[in-house]
Every structure is written in structure tokens, then in C-alpha cells.
């Protein structure tokens, strides 16, 4: 039986945002095995995706080593690259879906399959983009009033409609570090994940703000417990945050930064009622694990492109004309310590399900929704013109799709 491969070589957040397209592809052709190619460190997460048959690692470090080792010539490099692919034991693919608009994704797609859908579908060196990829690039550059979510645009890129059901990641059965096990199994009434870090420095929330949020949660949400989420890179920041917290809140906080694998994080997020953070991979992962996400979107993050996928999520979108206060090297705000500019209490009120205003001086509150054209966000529960235009966008871009591939997809 022919197999298909979906290629997603970007970071955690993009991989999580690829779950809807994987789900849609699998339900479009349930009999066809669908594999995933993703960065090596994310393979363990990919293996939890229910719609994926096999997950193959793409080891960027190893490729970089092959390309830059000083002692090898072209001949040896090529032999080593061939050996690398042989060791991966890829099966033959009749079709590769490439979600990455960069040469590595395009080349990988052509190495592994003769037929490619997505960037590179006109040839490995052909810069002509398919309609949906061109649309995404234009959005990234112009930041227009689009409302097609990135995860749904991935579906368009692969020529399927968004999945009929929102995909969720189930908790795997595995052991957790003792302290985390105690917190998760103890079934606290409200478990809130706090996503400390972000891949890009300009998306990091200052520690003083997290400090205020934790204090506010502890004071206003009875029996709430807070879990600090992050990778190795956030260990230091998490320790610093713990030092800043008043002793009376410490028994309500557990530091999970750098202490979990991705499957363990999925297990924990499955037990969280809420997850709060900026536009980061763990925030999206939390949403896919069933937690309700509250995003603080600033810098270049835009709710309509990358808001947490699904329903029941919130995003505080900072006024695009403003940028948050600058951070120093230790992730601490340099301009005073007031949290007045961050929607701290507003976020706590959301978690308390209280009525509140949907705007502050600097932040707008958006709520997630979903229909047949995918996920979208509204303010005050009202769909505006831009939301309605998504249907037109889908229809227009789908007509521009390459008929060869449409045929292949339908087959």
C-alpha cells in the first residue's frame, strides 16, 4: 500500500499546530498509512499523535556535522549522507506533504518522494509557491486582516479541509518525577500551567509579572496549584522566580522546568485545567491536551494566526502599536516592576469565570471559536466581516491548487 509523509521540520509550536492537518489527512484517506518527519528532539511527541503511523527523526545536528566537518571531501560527505538516510530506513513514499517554506523541507520532500505537495511542489529549486504557501508568506509580511488560522492554512496547503473534530492528545501511561506525580495524581481542584519560557527572547514574559500572576491566583482561586512549565533553558528563570515568591505561596507552586520529557509534559498538561503563557509551543501543546489556554500575545504574535487551536481558549492581544517593556538578560523588566501593564488580574478573573470587560487600555480579549473553515477568534462573541471572509479565502485558494496533486490526493 502506498504511504504518505508529512514533513514538519520547524519547532515545537509548529509541530503541535500540525496536528489538525495530520488528523484531516488521516481521515481523508484512512486506509493510507501517514508518517511524520520531524526534528529528532520532537519525535517522542510525534509518536503520541494518534493519526500518525510512524515518526521519523530529522537530525539537524547530524546534517550540520556532515556539511561542516573539515576532514571530509565531497565524496565522503555524500557517502555519509546516503548512509544516514539508509540508517533511517525510510519506506518509499508516493506523496510527501511539506509544510516548511525553506530549502531543507523542500529538499527533504524530494529526497523522500517523487511527488510533493506544499512548498517545493514545482521542483526542489523552484521558488514558485503553491497558493496557500504564498498566502501564508503574504500574511507573515503584510500582517493583513486575515482570519485563517495557521493550523488550518496547513490543511489548505495539503489540500484538505480542517478536521471535523478538534484533535486532542491523550495522556500516555508513564511515570512522572515524584513531586509532579504527587501534584497531578493528587487531583487538585485547579491546576494551572504557567509557561515560563519562549523560543524567541522578545516573547518572554518578565519574571515579575509571573510573580504577580502566581500571587493573584493563589489569593483569588481557592485551592489552585501552579505548575511552572519550561525546558532546560528555563531552569534558571524558574529558580529565580521561586526565590522571588513569598514563602506563603511556595507550597502552591511546583517547578517542572527541565524535569520532564515531552510525553511527560503531555501527561501533566492533560491534568491542567488552565495553561497560561505567551505564544509558545507548550501553550499550544496545553490546548491540544485539553487544557483551556490563555495566551498573552505581544511582539509579533497574532491571535488570528497562531492563537491556541480549538474552542474555549482566550488570548489577550496587545495593541500592535505597542511593545512590552524591555527585558534584560535575566528576563527581568528594566523599566520598573509594576504589573499594571499586563493583564494579570484580568487573566485570574477569566479563570474564575467572572464577567469582565474584554479590553484594557492596552490589551484586547479574544475568544476562540470553530466552524467548518477552522478555528477563529472573536471579540465580545461577535463574528466580524473578516471572519466571514474565510470561506472566500478557502474557495479562492483551493481553485488555484495544482490539479495534478488534487488528483493524487483524491486517489
Amino acid at each position: 500500500m502506498s504511504r504518505a509523509l508529512l514533513i514538519q521540520l520547524a519547532r515545537l509550536g509548529d509541530l503541535v499546530q500540525s496536528l489538525p492537518v495530520l488528523t484531516a489527512l488521516q481521515s481523508a484517506q484512512p486506509e493510507r498509512p501517514l508518517d511524520l518527519l520531524c526534528p529528532s528532539p520532537l519525535v517522542a511527541l510525534g509518536e503520541l499523535f494518534p493519526c500518525v503511523d510512524r515518526v521519523y527523526p530529522w537530525n539537524g545536528e547530524q546534517w550540520h556535522g556532515l556539511a561542516t566537518t573539515k576532514t571530509t571531501d565531497c565524496d565522503q560527505r555524500l557517502a555519509q549522507a546516503t548512509r544516514y538516510l539508509a540508517d533511517c530506513a525510510f519506506p518509499p513514499y508516493s506523496l510527501a506533504y511539506n509544510l516548511n517554506n525553506h530549502p531543507r523541507g523542500m529538499l527533504a520532500a524530494h529526497v523522500l518522494s517523487d511527488l510533493v505537495v506544499g512548498p517545493g511542489e514545482h521542483g526542489p529549486m523552484n521558488q514558485r509557491l503553491p497558493a496557500w504557501a504564498g498566502y501564508l508568506r503574504q500574511i507573515a509580511q503584510d500582517r493583513g486582516s486575515n482570519r485563517v488560522h495557521l493550523a488550518d492554512a496547513f490543511c489548505g496547503l495539503c489540500q484538505v479541509l480542517p478536521p471535523s473534530d478538534i484533535p486532542y492528545l491523550k495522556a500516555p501511561e508513564l511515570e512522572l518525577p515524584f513531586e509532579l506525580e504527587w501534584m497531578v495524581r493528587g487531583q487538585p481542584p485547579t491546576l494551572i500551567g504557567i509557561v515560563l519560557g519562549a523560543g524567541d527572547a522578545d516573547r518572554r514574559v518578565p519574571l515579575s509579572v509571573w510573580q504577580d500572576l502566581i500571587a493573584a491566583c493563589a489569593e483569588h482561586i481557592p485551592q489552585s496549584y501552579l505548575l511552572l512549565i519550561g525546558g532546560e533553558g528555563e531552569r534558571e528563570a524558574a529558580l529565580a522566580l521561586e526565590h522571588r515568591l513569598s514563602a506563603k505561596y511556595l507550597n502552591r507552586v511546583v517547578n517542572g522546568c527541565g524535569r520532564t520529557s515531552l510525553p511527560q509534559l503531555v501527561a501533566i498538561l492533560n491534568r491542567c485545567q488552565w495553561v497560561v503563557g505567551s505564544d509558545t509551543g507548550p501553550l499550544h501543546l496545553g490546548a491540544m491536551c485539553g487544557a483551556r489556554a490563555i495566551g498573552w500575545y505581544f511582539s509579533r504574535a497574532r491571535v488570528h494566526e497562531t492563537g491556541p487551536y480549538g474552542v474555549g481558549h482566550y488570548v489577550w492581544q496587545r495593541d500592535q502599536g505597542r511593545s512590552p517593556e524591555s527585558l534584560d538578560a535575566h528576563n527581568v523588566r528594566t523599566g520598573g516592576s509594576s504589573s499594571a501593564h499586563w493583564p494579570v488580574m484580568e487573566t485570574v478573573n477569566l479563570m474564575r469565570e467572572e464577567q469582565m470587560n474584554s479590553t484594557t487600555d492596552e490589551w484586547d480579549l479574544w475568544t476562540s471559536n470553530r466552524d467548518e473553515w477552522g478555528a477563529f477568534y472573536t471579540r465580545d462573541g461577535k463574528s466580524d466581516e473578516a471572519v466571514l471572509r474565510r470561506k472566500d479565502t478557502w474557495e479562492a485558494l483551493s481553485q488555484l491548487a495544482n490539479p495534478t496533486f488534487q488528483m493524487e490526493v483524491s486517489r
Partner: protein
């Protein structure tokens, strides 16, 4: 049959003359004793050459460590004989077809060894090198292109000087065979005496066919100089330091954009330890040619571990000092001349009037010069003093030219050529001649290259570079005046000597010669990287011949001229030229994929 007879039989199969020499060698160089393990061990002058407990295990550990670096196709040359446990261990770990040679500097030592240790089963697969150091170097280079030297220190130390001589011979012979082109990044200083040398080095390397990227920091001089307007001394030093650090990061950016095979820095190049460490992490080899007196400028002590290779213009004490301070590789590389710049010339009437003199000195006003040069004033000849840093010149005031302005290189050449007797006094901050004077200054080579006559103060390293038929050498300040008088009245002798000195520069002391030596040394020290490239391993014809692992590559490689160096980036470029509609085979896709990763720079700075 005794062990010796059996061994001689084995050696006879390899080299009859060598076998006969062993039989005639007196022996007795080594003292043989049983080790605790029961195997024989050896002492030389009461020092153990092998373990007193288990020489076999010790040798295996030595070989296991060395073999990690050895690459297929390299010829291994072992220094250090002793009882050859290390040679046997290494031979038995190597592939059967890998060539291994052992330098035998002392037949008696070898005879002692083969009297107690059998060569059977491994000694037949070793090339035993004997004879003069030159003969041995020739034998190596006739058989091998890529040479890796492995030194078994306990036994090699016994013949340290001999092996050093062998290394130099081998380096020079290998340098003659270089055919491949490196990409070398030359990093110059912001200003100072090493700046023109950096230019000469760039020209010389380009002249040898290498691709050179020159990171020229001299355009930043005006800004750097402008910092002198900061009056507070500590503040000024801090800002100057910061500026140097920024220039170091700029250098790193150049390295990231177009990674070279080797970075060659000249003294005073603004490279910091942090930047050098980053280059090391990125696998960029670095070398420094320290063209300063190591006793006067001592900042090298803080930088010594930063560079992979050091080249210095002094020997013995200097080499020892660098090694003790932690230099991984340090070699003697004297200065030289650039004959395209420093050459004989003719003058206009005006030029002869301005620059001509019976006697001249060009240089900065160091203490010893201020003390010695006044003796040349008022002697009935014309004496001109050129150069800067002559504040308060005292009795030299009447002869100081251009008010003590700095003299540029073209003017320097005119002064040298227009002077009958050029005085060349090496700088010294004390009185008289530097009692530790060893290194030879660039002026010596430049005067010679101009075909200009010079009187120079004695330096311990001078006789190995020029002899006294080429220049007048004085051993003390009081010899200066009579020597000048003698030669001033003997123009024919002056012309003959200067002619010989110029001829000798052209034969042996240009920057081209120095760069050949330099490349021979770095190639020998890094056989799998620089050595392989220098020997032409990355040239198209060589790659085609060795493409048995990936025959699909051959058509791509055949597009390049045979002698061109071909790297991943070149093959990738040729693939991209096929255009956006091209269909690519798997190998072409993989080449492009690797080229994408090659361009990754995100963590360079």
C-alpha cells in the same frame, strides 16, 4: 637462532644495507632490564624509556590514543625507538595497507632493541628510515603525500635535537610538493609595524595560488586614534579595549560568512580569547605569526592557548617560553622581504638630493640608538636620521629629517637605495647592543632586498640567514665608526656585498618562501585537514580518482577543471546553475541539503 639473528634476517629482506649496519653497530646505548611483567624494559642515562611494570600494556594505551586521530591514506612516521613496544602495538592496530615508518636516529640503540625484541609478525610491515635527516625526509616524501608524525616522547626525548632537525627537513620537503589551494583568512592589526607585513603575507599567499581573505583593520585606525582625545588614561584604555573587542567580533563575522581553512593573524591583530575560543568551537584552525620581540611585547602570554599554531621570529628561549606557557605548536619563522616593494631603483635629481646620503639610519628613537648614533655626526660625511619617536633628539637634531615624521614604505625604499652605508641597529631599551639579541628585524631583509649596503649589529640568529659576505656585522657599538669609515671608502666592495645580499633574499628570504615554510608546517601538523588539502586531495582530478564511494558524483566533478579545488559549496553551485525547472537526482538533492546546513550561521556570533 638468537633473536638478533632472526631480526637481522627480517631486516635483510627489507634493506640489506640496514641489516648489515645493525650487525656492525656497537650497541650498549640502552640498559636492558626485566620489567615486573617479565618483559624487557630499557633505560637511557638512568631514565626509563618504557614502563618498569608492563611495557606492553603501556604501549597499547599509547597506540590506542594515537590511532584515534589517524586517517586512512596517511603515512604514519614514528619518532622514538627504545624497545619498539609502541611501534609494534600501533602496527598491529593499523589496517594492513597503511604505511608506517620509523625514524632510526641511532643504530646502536636499534641494535640493542633488536637483540632482545623480536620483529617477527610486525617488523616486516614497517619502513625503517636511516641515514642523514635529509635522506630520511626525502624517503618519506617520495613514498607519502599525507604524513602524520607520531612521537613516543619517552624515547624521542633522547634524540630531541635530531628529531627536530628531521621535522624541519620534512616540513621543507613537504612544502616543495604543495599543490592544493587553501582558503586562508589573514587578520591584520589596526596599525603598526606588522601592518605592512600583513600585506606582504597576503600577496605571498595569493602568489602561491591560495584564496586569501584579508580582514584589514587599518581603516579603523582613524577612529582608534581619535580615542586619544579621551584624556583620562584608564577610561581611554577601557574604550580602546572595547573597540578591539568589537573588531574581534567583526573578524568572527567574516569567518562566519566565508569560513576559511585557516586564520592567520599577525601580531597586534585585534582577536580576543573569547573569539578565538569560538573559532575553535567552530573547528576553524588559527595561527599567529608573532613578529615582535617576545621579551619586549609580552601580551602573547595571555593569548598563547588561543591559537592552534604560533610562529615566532626568535628561537631557543622564545620557543621554550611559548611551550612552557602552553603553546600547542610553536615554530621559528624569521621575517623576510617583499622584493616587489623592496627593490633597487633609480632616482630623479630631486629625489637624490632629498634622500641621498653617505650614511643614514631609519628607525624609531630607542634608547640604544640615541646613545650610539651621535658618534656618526660631524664626521665629514653626510648623515641623515629618519623616523619617528625622536623627541628631544639632542646632538642628533641637526641630522633628523622631516622633523621626525613617520616614514612610509615607498619613502623607506628610496632612503635605503639612496644611501651609501645604511645603519641597521636593532632596537633595545638599554644601552649598547641587546645582550640577548637574537631575532633579526625586517629592516635587515628589506635593505638586502633593495640591494642596499648595510652595517648591522650582531644577532645570534643572523649567521643562519646571511653571512658576512653580504653585510658588515659589528659586535659592539665601538666598531660602528671604523666599520662605516672602512666601507664608505670602498664602494666596489659595498656594491658586491649588497648584490650578494639581494641575490640571497630572492633565493631564500622572501615572504613567498616564508609562507611555503609556514604552510609546510601547518600541513604537517594537521595532515588530515590542511595537509590533505595542500597535497591536492580536494582538487577535481583527485576527487574523481577517489570517488569510489559515490560514483554518482563523478559526472558532477568532471565539470570542474582538473586542478581546481572542489568543495561542497562548488558542487552545490554547479547544481543550482541548472535552474529552477531542473529535476535533480538523489545525490544532487543531498549535496544541496548539506550545503543548506553548511550555510547555517545562527550560533556563530
Amino acid at each position: 637462532m638468537t633473536v638478533l639473528k632472526q631480526n637481522v634476517g627480517i631486516l635483510r629482506q627489507l634493506n640489506q644495507v640496514f641489516a648489515a649496519q645493525i650487525l656492525q653497530a656497537p650497541g650498549g646505548a640502552l640498559s636492558i632490564q626485566p620489567a615486573k611483567s617479565g618483559m624487557p624494559t630499557a633505560l637511557f642515562n638512568s631514565r626509563y624509556l618504557h614502563s618498569a611494570y608492563d611495557p606492553v600494556r603501556e604501549a597499547e594505551r599509547w597506540a590506542e590514543e594515537r590511532i584515534k586521530d589517524c586517517q586512512a591514506g596517511e603515512t604514519l612516521v614514528v619518532l622514538g625507538v627504545g624497545l619498539l613496544y609502541h611501534v609494534q602495538a600501533l602496527r598491529e592496530m593499523l589496517p594492513h595497507d597503511q604505511i608506517m615508518m620509523v625514524v632510526v636516529p641511532d643504530l646502536s640503540e636499534f641494535a640493542d632493541c633488536v637483540s632482545v625484541r623480536s620483529l617477527e609478525g610486525w617488523g616486516e610491515r614497517v619502513m625503517w628510515l636511516t641515514g642523514s635527516m635529509t635522506d630520511m625526509a626525502v624517503q618519506v616524501t617520495q613514498k607519502a603525500k599525507r604524513v602524520r608524525i607520531l612521537s613516543y616522547e619517552p624515547a624521542a626525548t633522547v634524540h630531541h635535537d635530531t628529531y627536530e632537525h628531521f621535522r624541519l627537513q620534512l616540513r621543507d620537503h613537504l612544502a616543495q610538493q604543495l599543490s592544493g589551494a587553501l582558503h586562508i583568512m589573514v587578520v591584520g592589526p589596526i596599525y603598526g609595524g606588522s601592518l605592512p607585513i600583513a600585506r606582504y603575507v597576503v600577496n605571498a599567499l595569493e602568489g602561491l595560488g591560495h584564496r586569501v581573505s584579508w580582514v584589514d583593520h587599518s581603516p579603523h585606525y582613524a577612529g582608534y586614534k581619535n580615542l586619544d582625545t579621551i584624556r583620562d588614561h584608564r577610561l581611554r584604555l577601557t574604550v580602546q579595549q572595547r573597540m578591539s573587542e568589537t573588531l574581534a567580533v567583526i573578524t568572527l563575522a567574516h569567518v562566519a560568512e566565508d569560513p576559511p581553512d585557516l586564520v592567520l593573524a599577525l601580531s597586534q591583530a585585534p582577536l580576543t580569547m573569547a573569539v578565538l575560543e569560538q573559532m575553535r568551537r567552530k573547528k576553524v584552525l588559527t595561527a599567529m605569526w608573532f613578529v615582535e620581540n617576545f621579551r619586549h611585547l609580552t601580551y602573547w602570554q595571555q593569548m598563547v592557548s588561543g591559537y592552534d599554531f604560533w610562529f615566532v621570529m626568535q628561537q631557543a628561549a622564545c620557543l621554550d617560553a611559548f611551550r612552557k606557557a602552553g603553546a600547542k605548536q610553536v615554530s621559528y619563522l624569521p621575517l623576510a622581504a617583499e622584493p616587489d616593494i623592496h627593490q633597487p631603483m633609480t632616482f630623479t635629481q630631486e629625489e637624490r638630493h632629498e634622500f641621498g646620503a653617505d650614511v643614514s639610519f631609519l628607525g624609531a628613537g630607542y634608547r640604544n640608538r640615541r646613545q650610539i648614533l651621535p658618534s656618526l655626526v660631524g664626521q665629514g660625511w653626510t648623515f641623515k636620521l629618519w623616523g619617528n619617536e625622536w623627541d628631544n633628539p639632542g646632538p642628533l637634531a641637526p641630522v633628523l629629517q622631516r622633523g621626525g615624521a613617520r616614514i612610509d614604505t615607498p619613502t623607506t625604499v628610496k632612503i635605503f637605495n639612496a644611501t651609501s652605508v645604511n645603519i641597521n641597529l636593532h632596537s633595545y631599551t638599554g644601552d649598547g647592543f641587546d645582550p640577548e639579541g637574537d631575532g633579526v628585524n625586517p629592516r635587515t631583509f628589506e635593505l638586502a632586498s633593495c640591494g642596499a649596503f648595510q652595517v648591522v649589529d650582531a644577532r645570534t640568529l643572523l649567521p643562519a640567514l646571511f653571512d658576512e659576505s653580504m653585510m658588515a656585522v659589528i659586535n659592539s657599538p665601538d666598531q660602528l665608526l671604523p666599520t662605516v669609515k672602512t666601507y664608505l671608502h670602498d664602494p666596489a666592495r659595498r656594491v658586491a656585498m649588497a648584490g650578494l645580499s639581494r641575490k640571497h633574499v630572492l633565493e631564500a628570504h622572501t615572504y613567498g618562501h616564508r609562507m611555503k615554510t609556514f604552510l609546510g608546517a601547518v600541513g604537517m601538523a594537521s595532515p588530515d585537514r590542511l595537509g590533505a588539502i595542500l597535497q591536492g586531495d580536494r582538487q577535481a582530478e583527485s576527487l574523481v580518482a577517489r570517488s569510489e564511494q559515490s560514483p554518482e558524483l563523478i559526472p558532477m566533478l568532471k565539470q570542474f577543471p582538473q586542478g581546481d579545488r572542489v568543495e561542497l559549496v562548488d558542487v552545490a553551485k554547479s547544481i543550482r546553475k541548472k535552474g529552477p525547472e531542473a529535476r535533480l537526482n538523489r545525490e544532487e538533492l543531498l549535496i544541496l541539503m548539506m550545503d543548506e546546513y553548511r550555510q547555517e550561521k545562527r550560533d556563530f556570533l
